[in-house]
Symmetry: C2
Subunit: 379 residues, 2 copies
């Protein structure tokens, strides 16, 4: 396996952008990443494009507009883990020697998409009965409260922290500080989860250029991908203990082994936080704290920007919004900026090792979930 | 690069199967392929799943029901080339040493899908103006007739041949012989293409197990994948000469080079025939005949089962129907049966080298197309 480096990253603003097409968003992120890396469009040998809701051949549609054609282009869907899965495929393609320089793109246009309802192929009985994504995460939260005594205020602390972090991210959807009281008093979505504990849908794109060894701009800090581990599994509703983040735990174990590092080595992490309880469970699964301690981990300030292990310095999905397939690639962009020391206003001092984590799926009747954990390091 | 072998294949019947779910179709093909190969579900290390219209995380949804979970599962969309692209990814994963045994699945449920119209994310102006898929292929046919003197009867010969071949395929949607006159007198869809020159939508699935070297059942003929080449490009409507199959030509050139064989070595081929003109242009692009001679190649009988280079012994999309993402994998299943000598009633005698070809995309406003050419051989 060859060393893989990140030489260019790009990301659009996330948020409601009704006037911009999917192609326009994707193109902007690709052009940014190429320019950031000093890479010309004709040097890209293959592209791995994450998209869930775009309606077909999104990769080709976007890349053509960025001056890229004739190469292998795959569009990949693994729900909320799509962007991370595309990164995983790109990493494997370069590490294995299949390609020397590849592009990874995540892009999603969600504005207006659900106005007429989702045209799912089959009836989704369980969603109609209330077992929607917020409903599932609410069940996880209730179970976590029962098993470990996690409090609503601890859950709210995740939202408070991530929204505070997001203030310094010019690409985030929201730039608004909130208090624990405001979070808890916002309208209930699926008890105990309130509105300010749920991430918003968004439009956006992020892109990354991966190379074998150093092809980056001279003199710039180098960033290596030490590991990217993808696993699949069954949905939450089929698990007995739904609050343990089993699938994330497996992905993390594989990634740590591949990278030769452990949780204690991690300086900064981007962790999947579609709902506050998501970050709580996932920080436990990633080994940042003990099982059951995820609520306290956030509420204590340990995962704040000035804490011992800052989590979601970008503001997370909670601040940035969640353009499904773009999310995992945006995490990689943020961590690259962190490892280069370029995360202005939200820089984690002396960040050397970074972890990105997503988990996708779990909606009722979608029996599969996937999780990807990737580990980056300053080279 | 390691040798890659096909040790198991499975395929459902193609056709309207309104009573079967996407999951049921996919599961059946997977179970067939595992059993055919003598491979247990827990030995599969990764799965590459092609699906276009299934609504998210199709890979995990299907594989869970076939006893496969915890492994990396990717769902891939490259329009009509999706199944071939999944095969390509599986081939690369095994050839590069990333995995020793992988599953490739293509599955599509189309029945009932277009009753309420397709919920495309954006308005498709050109389709509304008539530049649908039949419209585009009709333009290609008109241009081919103008450039090369191809006749309607030559186009019809493709349909006559493939529907005759399909009579011997128990998994094909149609089992009905048609004459040139019947083809030409069937209702016009997009002039000069008549109804019997267009493939039908269908439901179905096909699966393939790929391994590094020989893991197949003892004593059975072995089948190797010599090459799988994937290229992308711009849509037909952006090309000056729309009747030359440029993208297929590029995919074929790459595959022949990788395999170390040429068109003259090919004994049997499965070629993308969504419309009669598609097979005409693609047989030229694959080098089976000279540019412009594709019409005569079919009408002369050269590509019939008893001709010099049988094309679409399975009956092609024209007979089998076209469950979009299943199509490319079904081609591989058919060619595996051919190379093993198991294609009862439609066996090409002494078939040693086989070519599979698809091309996807090209619909108005979908600026990208992709083509995959794979080459198999009796080992």
């Amino acid at each position: 396996m060859r060393d893989v480096e990140i030489v260019g990253v790009g990301m659009t603003r996330f948020g409601k952008q009704e006037d911009r097409s999917l192609e326009s968003l994707g193109r902007a992120a690709v052009v940014d990443a190429l320019n950031d890396g000093g890479v010309t469009s004709n040097s890209i040998q293959a592209a791995f494009v994450a998209n869930v809701l775009g309606g077909g051949q999104v990769g080709q549609r976007v890349l053509f507009r960025a001056g890229i054609e004739s190469i292998p282009v795959l569009t990949i869907d693994v729900a909320c883990a799509s962007g991370s899965a595309a990164l995983h495929e790109g990493f494997e393609a370069v590490a294995s020697g299949r390609h020397d320089i590849v592009l990874v793109l995540g892009v999603e246009k969600m504005s207006g998409l659900f106005k007429g309802g989702i045209n799912l192929q089959r009836e989704d009985r369980e969603s109609r009965l209330g077992l929607t994504m917020p409903g599932i995460y609410a069940m996880v939260a209730r179970r976590h409260m029962f098993d470990f005594g996690t409090t609503p205020a601890q859950l709210a602390a995740v939202s408070v922290k991530n929204r505070r972090h997001g203030l310094a991210n010019p690409r985030a959807m929201f730039a608004q500080e909130v208090s624990v009281e405001q979070v808890l008093e916002s309208p209930a979505i699926a008890d105990p989860l309130t509105m300010l504990q749920c991430c918003p849908n968004a439009d956006g794109a992020a892109a990354v250029v991966l190379t074998a060894g150093d092809h980056g701009r001279a003199g710039r800090p180098r960033v290596r991908v030490l590991a990217s581990h993808l696993v699949s599994g069954t949905s939450l509703r089929r698990q007995v203990e739904i609050d343990r983040g089993d699938i994330s735990r497996r992905a993390a174990a594989g990634a740590y082994e591949q990278a030769g590092v452990g949780p204690a080595d991690v300086d900064v992490a981007e962790v999947h936080d579609p709902f506050t309880i998501g970050e709580v469970v996932s920080t436990e699964a990633l080994g940042f704290c003990d099982a059951g301690d995820g609520g306290d981990f956030a509420a204590s300030g340990a995962s704040s920007l000035d804490g011992s292990l800052p989590v979601n310095p970008s503001g997370g999905l909670m601040s940035k919004g969640h353009p499904v397939a773009a999310t995992g690639v945006a995490q990689i962009a943020e961590l690259t900026w962190q490892l280069r020391g370029e995360a202005e206003g939200r820089q984690v001092p002396e960040a050397r090792v970074a972890v990105a984590h997503t988990v996708g799926g779990g909606v009722a009747e979608l029996d599969g979930v996937a999780s990807v954990v990737s580990i980056l390091a300053a080279a």
